[in-house]
């Protein structure tokens, strides 16, 4: 072991009469530990949220959505579009969909609430989104054939069902903002449905607004007669989203508009990334404070060890060697604090995630508990930042120590 490390280690570990300095050095180590652990937890939290939300967005949405050339223009020949889409390499499935905006009322909530109705072909929808896996109660297959009460079936998002206070078996009425001529007077188009299933996508935006009905039912409700509003498609590999989207657009021509999932949620995804960055910076300030602590400890240590420094210089330690002794102390604090902080952070992340410790109000967040997902690069980045900060913190005090005049150090009382 070099004398620098030997002395630095002893200075850090020896019991000393000036408890003040050892308390401060303890605080500085704690600072690094807390900083590193907090950063790791914060990043794991952001990653957890992002992954969770991303998965939900990816699952609940089709990867590509084809619209008519201008907003609101129906697609008159959906089968042709579906065929073209299926011919594009990389597209695994495509399915025609009718999206309608309307109002839904129930017996218990006659005031109703705004909804988006999605008319689907169940067999094809299964291959495009993960709707079928998200049914929490009831039976989605009842959508396609008439229920026992001869009313058409509807599946509701779970928060929507809660708002309307309905369960499978109950009735709801859908009202569209389009007028229908009756022999007496024009009335809004409306139709009763029987709730057959409740869908829990875990995505509040969807679960609070969406109702799912059979495609033909939606077409007749909106008088579309064979036309649809969009055609949705799923890719076999999400990584090629952009190229496949462009290829689909090329094959469909300019009568159609192909939009991909990421483009449609662009602001959302970039907001997520920005949030992660801002959070890292905020928590990174803790590491900065820890580094400042290290500077303080080292400056106090240099003052406390003035006579030792004089003796060491007299024994032939070069000025650079004195610097290295104090640099080693700072680096040891950094290394130890980072290692412990890292383990602490990882342990806490695991615990928080495995036991779903932090619950969330479901109306506000997309998920019922805070997920923590550790990424290797994040952990390495945090450790690197912490070690670099500790190293930088040693520069000033160790340089000052190396500049001490031996005679003054020997005379120091």
């Amino acid at each position: 072991m070099s004398y620098e490390l030997f002395i630095a280690l002893r200075y850090l570990t020896a019991k000393r009469k000036q408890t003040f300095v050892s308390v401060i050095s303890l605080i500085s180590i704690l600072g690094v530990i807390v900083g590193v652990a907090a950063l790791i937890i914060a990043l794991a939290l952001m990653t957890g949220f992002q992954q969770d939300i991303r998965e939900k967005i990816l699952g609940a949405n089709a990867h590509l959505t084809v619209f008519g050339a201008w907003p609101g223009k129906p697609i008159q020949d959906p089968e042709a579009v579906v065929r073209t889409l299926r011919s594009v390499p990389g597209i695994a499935a495509a399915s025609p969909v009718v999206l309608l905006k309307g109002l839904m009322v129930s017996d218990l909530v006659p005031g109703g609430t705004g909804v988006i109705l999605k008319g689907i072909r169940l067999a094809e929808e299964r291959r495009v989104t993960d709707l079928a896996e998200k049914v929490s109660s009831g039976d989605l297959t009842a959508l396609s054939h008439e229920g026992e009460s001869s009313l058409p079936g509807i599946a509701l998002g779970k928060d929507l069902a809660a708002t309307l206070d309905v369960a499978p078996g109950d009735r709801v009425r859908v009202v569209l903002p389009q007028l229908q001529m009756t022999p007496f007077l024009p009335v809004p188009r409306s139709r009763p449905f029987q709730v057959v299933a409740i869908v829990d996508s875990g995505f509040y935006d969807y679960d609070s607004t969406r109702g799912y009905i059979d495609l033909r039912e939606a077409q007749s409700l909106a008088s579309l007669e064979g036309a649809v509003t969009v055609v949705e498609a799923r890719l076999s590999q999400l990584s090629r989203l952009k190229e496949v989207g462009e290829e689909a657009q090329r094959r469909l021509g300019k009568d159609y508009l192909v939009n991909d999932l990421v483009a449609m949620n662009r602001t959302f995804f970039s907001a997520l990334n920005l949030e992660k960055l801002l959070m890292s910076i905020a928590v990174g300030l803790i590491v900065l404070v820890a580094a400042l602590n290290i500077i303080t400890v080292l400056i106090l240590m240099v003052m406390e060890k003035m006579r030792d420094i004089g003796a060491l210089l007299a024994m032939g330690v070069p000025p650079a060697g004195i610097s290295r002794i104090f640099m080693a102390q700072g680096i040891l604090i950094g290394l130890f604090g980072t290692a412990v902080g890292c383990l602490l952070g990882l342990g806490l992340c695991w615990w928080l995630d495995a036991y779903q410790v932090v619950k969330l109000p479901v109306e506000v967040y997309y998920i019922p508990y805070v997920p923590f997902k550790i990424r290797g690069v994040d952990v390495m980045g945090v450790c690197l930042v912490s070690l670099i900060a500790a190293f930088l913190a040693t520069l000033y005090p160790s340089r000052q120590a190396g500049r001490l005049d031996p005679v003054e150090a020997l005379r120091y009382e």
Binding site: A14, R307, P406
Partner: protein, 242 residues
């Protein structure tokens, strides 16, 4: 044997004092041979410590030359000077200046560790030295747990650990009682003699000074060698001008 190990010529050293300069050394010259022990006496503030700092290269003179074993200290770059000091110079101070967090053995091992010798041989050598100085049963004590005389003996062991050719002792017995002073002095004398080191011993103790090979008085910035009986009364009284 009579090639001087320490050879200084015309040393001048001053310190800033207010807006003027305090001239401490004014053309001091000193030669010490291998195995020779020179006592330096003088009033407090005469510049004795300053002289030892200059001799060991801890400070630089304003002018003049210092040759240690034929090397000019002043011209060496700091790293070289430190290495040279580590190999050639041993210091003993009035206040032992041992490192309080290290055991006696570790303190004595430091000079060898500083020159990058491995830990085990350095410790072994330290044990030998401490045993030689009668501290075989104090190896694992830390300085605060030792008596003043023991502390100075550990400090002496440390100064000898690097096998220096020059031993510089600044009032090593200044804080010790008569009997302990005697013991420490004898140990310094014996071990320096055995190793053939050139020793400069600053002391206030008349009896100890008289037992050195030569006694020099530092007065008005220069050294005067006292010969024969003169020193017995000469340097004690400031009224006597040399």
């Amino acid at each position: 044997m009579n090639e001087p190990i320490i050879r200084t010529q015309q040393l001048f050293k001053s310190f800033p004092s207010g807006d003027r300069r305090l001239q401490v050394l004014r053309g001091l010259s000193l030669e010490v041979e291998r195995g020779e022990m020179v006592a330096v006496v003088g009033e407090s503030g005469a510049g004795k410590s300053t002289l030892l700092h200059l001799l060991g290269g801890l400070d630089r003179p304003d002018s003049g030359t210092i040759l240690l074993s034929g090397r000019e200290m002043g011209t060496l770059p700091p790293e070289e000077r430190a290495r040279f000091r580590n190999r050639e110079v041993g210091y003993v101070f009035q206040f032992h200046h041992l490192l309080p967090e290290f055991t006696a053995e570790e303190n004595v091992a430091l000079p060898c560790l500083i020159r990058r010798e491995p830990m085990e041989p350095a410790r072994r050598k330290a044990r030998q030295l401490l045993e030689e100085l009668g501290l075989g049963d104090r190896l694992l004590h830390r300085p605060p747990e030792l008596s003043g005389g023991e502390q100075q003996r550990v400090a002496l062991a440390r100064s000898l650990a690097g096998d220096p050719s020059v031993l510089l002792a600044d009032e090593p017995t200044g804080n010790l009682d008569l009997h302990t002073s005697e013991l420490v002095f004898t140990l310094i004398r014996k071990s320096a003699c055995r190793r053939g080191a050139a020793t400069v011993l600053v002391t206030h103790n008349e009896r100890l000074a008289s037992r050195c090979d030569r006694v020099c008085v530092l007065e008005e910035g220069v050294l005067c060698t006292l010969s024969g009986s003169r020193y017995k009364f000469g340097w004690e009284s400031p009224a006597v001008k040399l």
